[in-house]
Symmetry: C2
Subunit: 262 residues, 2 copies
Amino acid sequence: MDKKSITIGLVGGSGKMGQWFRRFFTAAGYSVEIAGRKTALTPVELARKSRVLVVTVPIAVTCATIKELGPYLAKDALIMDLTSLKKEPVEAMLKYSGAEVIGTHPLFGPRERSLKGKNIVLCPARGQRWLPWLKDLFQSYGGHLEIMSPDEHDRAMGIVQGLVHTAHMAMGMTVAGSKFPLSTLGSVATPNFKKKLQQVRRLFSQDPTLYAQMLFYNPYVLPILESYMDDLHRLVSAVREKETAAVEKVFAGVRLYIKSGK
Amino acid sequence: MDKKSITIGLVGGSGKMGQWFRRFFTAAGYSVEIAGRKTALTPVELARKSRVLVVTVPIAVTCATIKELGPYLAKDALIMDLTSLKKEPVEAMLKYSGAEVIGTHPLFGPRERSLKGKNIVLCPARGQRWLPWLKDLFQSYGGHLEIMSPDEHDRAMGIVQGLVHTAHMAMGMTVAGSKFPLSTLGSVATPNFKKKLQQVRRLFSQDPTLYAQMLFYNPYVLPILESYMDDLHRLVSAVREKETAAVEKVFAGVRLYIKSGK
């Protein structure tokens, strides 16, 4: 295969993840072109000439972008998106293009140097030709691939992103509300709490709109957050009533889950 | 100073943290003796002969142990406890012994190999003689000391231990309740979520009674948990109503706190 003859197009490729994949595909030997609001090449022109079109625009405009560009893709081309949601974008790609479709979610941020040891979810939705190519490419750089349905992916992200980010955001709010100086908390921190403070600080250095979109667009986020509030209520009641047995019961239940998952 | 002539007594020294400090004081060159329910030496005999008595029994029996042994300590001796609470134990040490008193909280677990880079809170409550000795000893092994009042310590632990442990426990409950196999979650994990799963798993490998006691005995835990539930409620409402502005406001507030704490 002459890699250079395969143009990989990145729509919205000036964003951080877009730039990451631009470097990645370029290093792998492919011709990479980008198009966006500020490029001379228009997204439509890019869609026409790409063998692989990667949609890497914000979640809020992903489906509209797919709708706009899908019709210009060749039937033997591949269209993929990189958002942290899969159901709606995959449905849009199937509906608005005739190309092969692989919903893709790289589970890492743009600061990572390489794919090594990083998880990537693939939701192959149409076609057989490009999937082996994409798997080989990611695996050859050490990525761990997980094949899932879009629905299963979104349910999992309700936990991996929705629950964890919300819990960290609430923790940031509570710590800020406590008025305890951050420097004092640092000097009374356990190794565990030091990590937690780092995670919370990192979250709050990110773009709030991106986090809001991750929470709002995935329909599985709200139910998992409601479960979390229920579980928290049970624990807080146990603390209020000093019920050791309730805490022991919680430990027993979660340990059983952890054990069964090995 | 002839270190060997100074007997450091550990009451309840067969527990994990007791063993850790037995090794630490021994390596530092002191004579260390322990007494507990299973030793030939009784706690009272140990209290009589110790220049430094370290109370390292479970929180639930700490004050009773201090009450029992305090009267046997020499006036120029030192009594210290190692619990994660300071107000009640320090009050008990002041009340039931005539010795110097330093409430002590090592902010690390028994798995740590050395003091290097670890935080220790000291709450000196009576006497001038032993404090420089204890500070020098901990600092010479790389420990970071923080001097606080017992009340300030307990308020800080409401966050460092109460809030963080409860949030992790609730997360364990919610993840278990989701019925998602742990192995699937691992293969769709971000680097951040991998760390989170490790923290949650580590928590649930500990003793539930110890965690229950940390939550129940510190009066500052319940109010901070109630704040956390309020903050979480606000976030969940923002998710339900898809209010991006509310998420942006949260980010702005927490960022201001982080900035002011530098």
